[in-house]
């Protein structure tokens, strides 16, 4: 608990920024959902035959998990990609269903006599809607807006996966650091924000439905408008402040966040340019996509990953050859691979130190002999990638008791150490390996290709800012595997701040 408050205290400015981003995401997407959803609901209420399909489609959209939705939208031009824009599109889609539904319910719920009175008084369809139907449907619509906004606060935490910022940053950062106080630093305010939004909108709704006096209606709407305005201004300033010339990305695990900081601080220090950090993006493909669309200017990739996951080519085993080949492939598509940082983060097949010692396990071959009694836990990427589990199982004749469990990469270290699984595939440079007394088995058949870490950048950006290329080239060969593991350990096990660790590292290197 104390750690939680210390964290907030030491990250006050960042926290305020993320909170503002979060509120902005919710406010903008909810407003847009109202502007789209209410007319759609009115339209559907006029044509009962279309109302079922419209609600049906909105229903289906609602059931798509948010990460999958971000995935669908990644390749879509204009609204897709990574960043706040794509996140807002997803949040709008989620907000539509409750708003469309309650609009339909509100309008079809208007007393038939009251509607007939309006028509008999010579109202046009538009006047009937404006003077009678919408005002009477308002409390119902307000209930839908409340649901949409509260759902939005929750869904917006997922938006951090595509670099839209918000309180989800801390949740992802905490997950990748396996540090529950960092997770709580984002999760608790997000939950409180949801409660606050719910309470405020419930009050507005109450004003609209029980007190029909126009004065208090006006007060309620004015209060809601004031909150929206404050949020827009706060969020707008935060967004403006975070806009920088160079955008640095990273995937969503500790080492990537540290490397993202390393690249960002190096650029800041050597060029004096402003840098925007989009760390914790949800995976290789999201980072790559962001690089292509220009949402990210540079991130650190691993050569073996680029070869197989980005370019879909069979794995190679010679480090230099892989680097040259990948650099050429990148160059053809407007991206520049810079000199490797100096360490190889290959997959590490890990077991508990206890088991390794008692069973005398040293190599993966050793493990294959006893694996029939074991359960394995792998991340999604490892299970799917051609250079991941399928090839590994074939190369070593590995067979487990049952299908491997699918789990988050960062959680799998804990799952192994606590005995829920017996073998995992982690990163060779993971700080948790020594922190949790895990043992890496030797890849004695040389199955895994090399994974040399190297920054990859948009060629356009480097042409425009040659000083950025100079700064990144100077990083080449500066980070050894031992240093990387130490920094990972400092963040994962000692719960130190990644930015601080990188500052200390750069101070020594210089």
């Amino acid at each position: 608990m104390t750690r939680l408050f210390t964290f907030w205290a030491s990250h006050a400015a960042e926290f305020a920024g993320l909170l503002a981003q979060h509120v902005l995401l919710v406010v903008v997407s909810t407003l847009a959902a109202i502007l789209i959803g209410v007319p759609l609901g009115v339209f559907a209420s006029r044509r009962p035959r279309l109302s079922a399909p419209i609600v049906g489609i909105a229903n289906i959209v609602q059931t798509i998990p948010s990460l999958a939705m971000f995935g669908f939208l990644l390749p879509v031009p204009l609204i897709g990609g990574v960043g706040a824009r794509a996140a807002i599109v997803v949040l709008i889609l989620y907000g539509l269903l409750p708003i469309v539904r309650t609009t339909i319910a509100g309008i079809t719920g208007v007393d038939a006599t009251v509607r007939e009175a309006g028509i008999a008084m010579g109202m046009t369809q538009g006047e009937l809607l404006r003077i009678v139907e919408l005002p009477l449907a308002l409390p119902s619509i307000a209930a839908g807006v409340r649901v949409a906004a509260v759902v939005g606060v929750g869904s917006a935490t997922i938006a951090a996966a595509i670099g839209a910022g918000g309180l989800g940053e801390y949740i992802y950062r905490g997950l990748s650091m396996v540090d529950s106080s960092v997770i709580l630093a984002g999760a608790i305010p997000a939950a409180l924000l949801a409660l606050a939004v719910d309470g405020l909108l419930l009050w507005v709704e109450h004003q609209l439905s029980t007190r029909r006096r126009s004065a208090s209606r006006r007060t309620a709407l004015a209060a809601a408008a004031a909150v929206v305005a404050v949020a827009l201004v706060a969020g707008g300033t935060a967004a403006a402040r975070s806009r920088g010339a160079i955008v640095v990305g990273s995937k969503n695990f500790t080492e990537q966040v540290i490397l993202g900081e390393l690249v960002a601080q190096t650029i800041e220090r050597d060029t004096g340019m402003r840098v925007q950090r989009r760390l914790n993006l949800g995976g290789t493909l999201i980072c790559d996509r962001a690089l292509i669309t220009g949402d990210v200017d540079v991130y650190v990739e691993y050569t073996g990953t680029a070869l197989t996951a980005v370019f879909h080519e069979p794995a190679l085993t010679e480090s230099r050859a892989v680097f040259e080949h990948v650099r050429e492939q990148y160059a053809r598509t407007g991206r520049t691979l810079l000199p490797p940082l100096g360490f190889d983060n290959t997959f590490a097949i890990l077991v508990r130190g206890k088991d390794a010692r008692s069973l005398g396990l040293r190599t993966i071959d050793d493990a294959a002999r006893v694996a029939q009694r074991w359960r394995a836990g792998f991340g999604y990427e490892f299970l799917e990638r051609p250079d991941g589990y399928p090839g590994l199982a074939k190369a070593y004749g590995l067979r487990f008791a049952g299908e491997p469990h699918v789990m988050d990469l960062t959680l799998s270290y804990r799952a192994l150490s606590s005995g829920q699984v017996d073998l995992i595939a982690g990163d060779a440079t993971a700080g948790l390996i020594s922190a949790l007394d895990l043992v890496q088995l030797e890849d004695n058949r040389h199955y895994f290709p090399p994974y040399d870490a190297a920054p990859v950048a948009r060629a356009q950006t480097l042409l425009k800012y040659p000083q950025v290329r100079d700064a990144l080239e100077k990083l080449g060969g500066r980070v050894s595997a031992a240093e990387m593991r130490r920094m990972n350990y400092a963040v994962d096990a000692e719960h130190k701040d990644a930015a601080q660790i990188v500052r200390e590292f750069l101070a020594v290197v210089r």
């Binding site: 006599t113 009175a117 028509i119 008999a120 008084m121 010579g122 046009t124 009678v132 009477l136």
Partner: protein, 240 residues
């Protein structure tokens, strides 16, 4: 020229029930006509044909000498005040807001609307100070009915239609309202069509009474003559 005229009008409900069969009716300016009949006799249909909420299958309905088909429906409806059976006051508007609806649709200036609302409250005998800002659910049934009448008369339409206007009220209130209606009509001199199943209400309010049966008028005369009628179908309504 008659204020309202039905010429050989037939009308069938969407379900196929024939409601009006070669129906004729003529209402002169400033008359108060009560149409009496059992439920299902087509009373409400007649009113809706006048303000073109419905259109006849054959024949024509003339308002001020012009067929309702030739009237712009919106213009026609704003010239015909309509007091609905269930009143249908707008629950999200207070009394003055309800009365002001049609004048506002007609884009009267705010000061003219305010003045008119005051006049209408005086006309229906509700105190401006204590009633203008009340909400429909804070009114008694009789007060609500009166506001319904004020709303229908606010833009000074030449024709007023009333559908079972006082049907849901207790007998004492009903008698009071009949008397008040007579005072109002003496001042505004509208052409009024009332439909009711209550013969006593018809006698209390009307200058002419029509008796509906089988989609036609079986009697259409002064209250005295209708009272003296020997037709058993008319006599039956007295006992209802």
């Amino acid at each position: 020229m008659a204020a309202l005229e039905f010429r050989d009008v037939s009308f069938t409900r969407p379900g196929g029930t024939r409601v009006l069969e070669h129906f004729d009716l003529r209402v002169d300016d400033g008359e108060v006509v009560a149409l009496v009949g059992r439920s299902g006799a087509g009373k409400t249909t007649i009113l809706k044909l006048i303000n073109r909420l419905l259109e006849p299958d054959s024949g024509e309905v003339l308002v001020e000498g012009k067929s309702t088909r030739e009237w712009d429906a919106l213009v026609l409806r704003r010239r015909v005040g309509y007091v609905l059976q269930d009143i249908g006051l707008f629950p999200h508007m207070n009394v003055s807001g309800n009365i002001a609806v049609v004048p506002r649709l007609e884009r009267w200036t705010a000061s003219r609307v305010d003045a008119r609302v005051g006049e209408m409250l005086d006309l229906i005998g509700l105190d401006r100070g204590s009633f203008a800002a009340r909400w429909p659910d804070q009114l008694s049934g009789g007060q609500r009915q009166r506001v319904g009448v004020a709303r229908a008369l606010a833009a000074d339409p030449p024709v007023l239609l009333m559908d079972e206007p006082f049907g849901a009220l207790d007998p004492v209130t009903r008698v009071e309202l009949h008397a008040q209606f007579a005072r109002i009509q003496a001042r505004v001199r509208k052409t009024v069509v009332i439909v009711t199943h209550d013969m006593h209400e018809a006698f209390a309010m009307a200058t002419r009474i029509g008796v509906l049966d089988g989609g036609r008028l079986i009697a259409y005369d002064t209250p005295e003559s209708v009272r003296a009628s020997g037709d058993p179908r008319v006599r039956q309504l007295f006992n209802a």
